[in-house]
Subunit: 250 residues, 4 copies
Amino acid sequence: MGETLKVGVLGAKGRVGSTICDGVEAAEDMELVARIDDGDSLENLVSAGAEIVVDFTHPDVVLENLEFLVGHDIHAVVGTTGFTEERLEKVRGFLSKHPGTGVLVAPNFAIGAILMMRFAQQAAKYYPSTEIIELHHPRKADAPSGTARLTAELVGQARKDAGLGEQPDATSTELDGARGAEIEGVPVHSIRLTGLVAHQEVLFGTEGETLTIRHDSMDRTSFVPGVLLGVRSIKAHPGLTVGLDNFMEF
Amino acid sequence: MGETLKVGVLGAKGRVGSTICDGVEAAEDMELVARIDDGDSLENLVSAGAEIVVDFTHPDVVLENLEFLVGHDIHAVVGTTGFTEERLEKVRGFLSKHPGTGVLVAPNFAIGAILMMRFAQQAAKYYPSTEIIELHHPRKADAPSGTARLTAELVGQARKDAGLGEQPDATSTELDGARGAEIEGVPVHSIRLTGLVAHQEVLFGTEGETLTIRHDSMDRTSFVPGVLLGVRSIKAHPGLTVGLDNFMEF
Amino acid sequence: MGETLKVGVLGAKGRVGSTICDGVEAAEDMELVARIDDGDSLENLVSAGAEIVVDFTHPDVVLENLEFLVGHDIHAVVGTTGFTEERLEKVRGFLSKHPGTGVLVAPNFAIGAILMMRFAQQAAKYYPSTEIIELHHPRKADAPSGTARLTAELVGQARKDAGLGEQPDATSTELDGARGAEIEGVPVHSIRLTGLVAHQEVLFGTEGETLTIRHDSMDRTSFVPGVLLGVRSIKAHPGLTVGLDNFMEF
Amino acid sequence: MGETLKVGVLGAKGRVGSTICDGVEAAEDMELVARIDDGDSLENLVSAGAEIVVDFTHPDVVLENLEFLVGHDIHAVVGTTGFTEERLEKVRGFLSKHPGTGVLVAPNFAIGAILMMRFAQQAAKYYPSTEIIELHHPRKADAPSGTARLTAELVGQARKDAGLGEQPDATSTELDGARGAEIEGVPVHSIRLTGLVAHQEVLFGTEGETLTIRHDSMDRTSFVPGVLLGVRSIKAHPGLTVGLDNFMEF
């Protein structure tokens, strides 16, 4: 492995940030050189020699953080939300004068969710039938989940690209809602159950066989392996990258 | 085991009937003494010494068959559909003069489906959350399936009896249908997928844990063990019995 | 619901104890009147008016605790381990002079695990084939888990009681270990996977159909509903009760 | 879709062959022009105008069949077993003089099994833990199944290529066989259950999340979509192709 990566964390005292700090400290190929939170100066990152900084902070401050980081040729792995195309354009502006620096902005760091979506896209064209079941705790406000919507859109597009028509379905008597919500021709079913965390199944069926891809996110630490993958990969990817899947091989 | 049961089958040439004949012949404690189909005389059952007769025929002829069987003190295991309360009353009439003879009329011979429903009833009161997912081939006309409806009614009633209120569900933004159909307060989701046969999951959730009961019916032979259970039990249960669950211990 | 139960917790500052305190406080029909830990006097339970006390402490102190509680006619729900028959006999001794007081000692408060085992016992006699898969985090020292062993013993006994013989298995070429460990004639398979918590599936198979009972324990809070069930039930069960299943209806 | 493919089937009266005939007849873009079985002349294929012939026959006759087919510039899709490297070399010999003709030889036509193996290979490097559970009917002679062995080898190789070490496993007390058979460092567990057909799960785990890929083969028709895919693809792939995965995009 050789080299040890010097990593700083912004928002280090928050729930997410402290989990990332634990993950960096447990990684044999990384050293946590700076924990920064509200009130700490970003200069500490420079003096600590941070090469890569993880930012799970707030939309209000993330652009300022990135301007500083890129300006000091520090690579960034960003899980902060709220990145519109306009905001991404600003990041590209920062990077234009620092062509060797990399910034990863990713809406989803769960490796399993990314693989599930990719595999679903790959499988879609071979199956006349596809449905999605997502299962979450009952405190969730939206149904279906964002991941389920995105999966349905990707699968629906793959079906279209392959020239598949409507899914076979002889339902003539339906109790309202039984067949789920339809997104791009793909039925999506949302389960809300005390005790669950975040889970999704994509089911494919053809003559005599089915294929099921299931992702279970058991707790909040599930984004850590994805963040570490981002940290390990960012130096080799200068410029702006949107989506962790760009650092994955399939 | 001792005794060998002498069994006759009505509708023996049909798909279902011939599967039952195979099952009876494979059972070590049974002897198939008569295969009867259209055009054969019921008297053959008597001359063959049938003690128990299985009837998977047609609503048009089943009452006539039962009158004959009971009149000759032959026990009957009946999977033929269409038994209204009025029809059951007629069977009770046949039996009134033959108190030692038994007739089992059952809408469902899949032992696993019966166990699933029973367990779901037993578990219901311990869980704030319950949902049902049923999965079938896409040629099915009704959604949800009859078994899913019945399960939801049983579970919903058990929840009521236990004083459980509404299920926790913070959904505030729902794409129409995502949360399924509601039956007695229990969400039911219907999946239709090429390659599937008949499957159902009942999911229960409470703080930090879930319990799932799943029944998979892989092919048409799945009713055979239930029919054989009926054949083995009927002699000990004179009179009319409705539902195979009455012959099962839980 | 009427009455509010006044509950005290021993070992209230430990991880388990504080989780129980949270659970009691969240329950509408309970009031947490005392949190006791090392150094606190048990007399506080009396002055606080505790009717029922939960003890998840240590084998070294639990008998002393119970002598005090029973002596003051306070009911006890006990998850502390290490109860041999000799120790249970001592508890019976305490209770002999307080016939109206109840003590529940339970090795397992996960309601789902108890239901899974009960349902597995009930289903066993209807299926020629039964296997158990248990899945845990890779830090677990024993394989199979204690729950899997107990389930296999219960299912194996139920098979014997029903006169079932050996399970069908034509395996003639086996890579060592592929068919799992055998406990009372039931194959048990142990999966160890990062990211898992504690999970178990019991699979039953007969001609054309299978039945699966699955329990997923997602996090440490999964014993709370069982403890609360114990608290709600103990007043109606004077004397010593071993096992939470005695307070459950099936 | 345009063009209709003219297809012949060898071994058309066998169980497999007749299922393929049904599949070809049901396909809108194919026409079944010849059903050949023992005693029929292969010349019938030529006179019927077959462009592509499916061969699920016997190792004793398949080379003769292929020599005839290639000699008449008829493409072949072959599921017959027993193809050693020596036999494949003979097929290459036939093809050397017919560069426009294609022959597909595939050991496995179940698309879902191929996708499962491919996805498992792709996912392997992202997960410290991987285990395989395969589930079959109890008449199966070998444990683990051939597909499970192959999957374990592919996953084990992918782990090695990614520099992953041994899987985490703190098991210190094991009942013999509980942790399964080990193939290339991957534990494999074999379930044998009446009622099952052919099923496999590949489980991956990392911090806080798991990914599961499951393939269920419900009945014998599950190879048909793969055979049809071979028929649709073979004209564009002159020469010898070994493995249906070469005609699939991932």
